[in-house]
C-alpha cells in the first residue's frame, strides 16, 4: 500500500476540515460533518439490527484490568494493548517528576498501572458481564455495544486510527444460534453497505496476532474460517480496508468466563463489528468530501 496515497487522502480530509490533526499519527478530532455521517450510519445499523432484539449496553472506553488480564488479550496482541498509568507518589516524588519533566528526562517511570485498561474491542466488557448473570436463557443473548477502542498501531493511513469507534452486535448462545447469527449478518452487512453505494467484497481474514505463536493462531483462524471481513477500497484498490468484521470465537470466551447455555454446555460467541470511522472514510472517499453532493440514493438511505 502506498504511503503517498494514504498521506494524500489524509491531507485532503484535513484540508476539508473533516479530520482535525492532533500531532500523533492515528489520533484525530472530527468535524460536525464527519460526526453527522457517523451518527447517521449508527442509526442505520440500529435499523438493520432491530429484529435481533439486542440488549443495549454502553461502556466507557475502558476495561477492568482484571478482566483484561483474564481475557488472554496479552497472549495474542501484546503490541496493541494500551494500559492506563497514573502518578501515585508523595510530594517529594512529585517534585522529582516535575524536575525530570523540566529537564526533558523520562518522567513516566513515576507512573504506576491503574485498574483501568483501554478497550481493545467493543465486545470485551460484555463477556464478564454476561457470565456474572449465570446460565444463559434458552434463546441465548444478543448484546449491542458501541465504544471507542484503542490499538497501538500508529499509521499514516487515516483508516488506521489508534482511537476509533466500533459498534458491535454480540451473540452468545449455542453453536447453532451463534453460527446462524453470523451467517445472517454476513448477508445483512453486505446489503447494508451496498445500499450506501460503495464497492464491497467479503473475504476470509485473520487478526494481527503477535510473533511466531501469532502466525500459528492466524493460520488456525483462517483454516477454520473464523473471521470474515467486509472490505472497501479507501487508500488502495489492491489492499482494501476492512470496514466490518464477522467473527466466530467458538467457545474461546465461553471457556474463559465459564458462560453456560441453558443445557449446561459451554457457550459459543460471535460478533459483527462496524468500524465507524472507516465506514465514514469510505463514504468520503467514494462520494466526495461534502455529503451535500453525495448521490441522492445514498443521502436518502442515511438522512431519509
Amino acid at each position: 500500500m502506498s504511503t503517498e496515497t494514504q498521506t494524500a487522502f489524509r491531507d485532503a480530509l484535513v484540508a476539508h476540515g473533516l479530520l482535525i490533526p492532533m500531532g500523533v499519527d492515528g489520533l484525530y478530532g472530527r468535524s460536525g460533518v464527519f460526526e453527522d455521517v457517523v451518527e447517521r450510519f449508527d442509526a442505520l445499523i440500529t435499523q438493520w439490527g432491530k429484529d435481533d432484539g439486542a440488549e443495549v449496553m454502553r461502556f466507557p472506553p475502558a476495561l477492568n484490568r482484571r478482566h483484561f488480564e483474564k481475557s488472554e488479550y496479552l497472549n495474542s496482541f501484546p503490541q496493541l494493548a494500551g494500559t492506563i498509568h497514573s502518578f501515585e507518589g508523595n510530594e517529594r516524588d512529585h517534585q522529582t517528576l516535575l524536575q525530570k519533566l523540566h529537564d526533558g528526562e523520562d518522567w513516566t517511570g513515576m507512573q504506576r498501572p491503574t485498574d483501568v485498561v483501554l478497550t481493545p474491542a467493543a465486545c470485551y466488557p460484555v463477556y464478564p458481564t454476561i457470565a456474572a448473570r449465570g446460565v444463559l436463557p434458552e434463546r441465548g443473548r444478543v448484546v449491542d455495544v458501541y465504544s471507542t477502542c484503542f490499538r497501538h498501531e500508529p499509521s499514516l493511513d487515516p483508516a488506521r486510527m489508534q482511537l476509533f469507534r466500533m459498534r458491535e452486535y454480540v451473540r452468545i448462545g449455542t453453536p447453532n444460534q451463534v453460527m446462524s447469527f453470523r451467517r445472517s449478518w454476513l448477508e445483512r452487512g453486505k446489503l447494508l453497505m451496498e445500499s450506501l453505494g460503495v464497492p464491497v467484497a467479503i473475504d476470509l481474514a485473520n487478526d494481527p496476532f503477535f510473533g511466531r505463536a501469532g502466525r500459528m493462531l492466524a493460520a488456525n483462524q483462517r483454516d477454520q474460517g473464523l473471521k470474515f471481513e467486509l472490505l472497501i477500497p479507501i487508500t488502495s484498490a489492491e489492499k482494501p480496508t476492512a470496514c466490518l468484521s464477522f467473527n466466530y470465537h467458538q467457545d474461546h470466551f465461553g471457556l474463559l468466563w465459564d458462560i453456560r447455555t441453558a443445557d449446561g454446555e459451554l457457550a459459543h460467541t460471535a460478533c459483527v463489528g462496524f468500524g465507524m470511522e472507516r465506514v465514514a472514510l469510505a463514504l468520503f472517499r467514494h462520494h466526495g468530501f461534502d455529503p451535500a453532493d453525495w448521490p441522492q440514493a445514498v443521502r436518502a438511505v442515511l438522512w431519509g
Binding site: S76, N220, D223, Q224
Partner: protein, 102 residues
Amino acid sequence: MRATAWTALGDETAEDVASMDTTIREILADSGWLAVDVAALSDGDDLYAAGLTSHGSVNLMLALEERFDIEFPEQLLRRRTFESIAAIREAVTGLRNGTAGA
C-alpha cells in the same frame, strides 16, 4: 499421505518411536491443555476434540520445540500439525531428519 511420509523416513527404530510417543504424551499430560486423560487417547485421536484450544496448541508447539530442540518452520505452524499424537510425531521426526514439511 501421512503414512507414506512416515514410512519414507526409515531410519527411526521402533524404540525411537516409542520413546518419542512417551515424551509427547508426557508433555500433554503435564500441560493441563486437554480435557481428558492422555492415557485414554489413541495416537490418531483428535486432540482438539479432546479439549486442546488454539492457545493451548501454541503452548504445545513451544513445549515441543524446547523438549526436542527443534524449530517448527512457518509451513508447519498450522492447526493440523498438532491435531493428534501421530501428527506431532510425524512433524517432529521430519524436523529431526531434516525433511520438514515433506
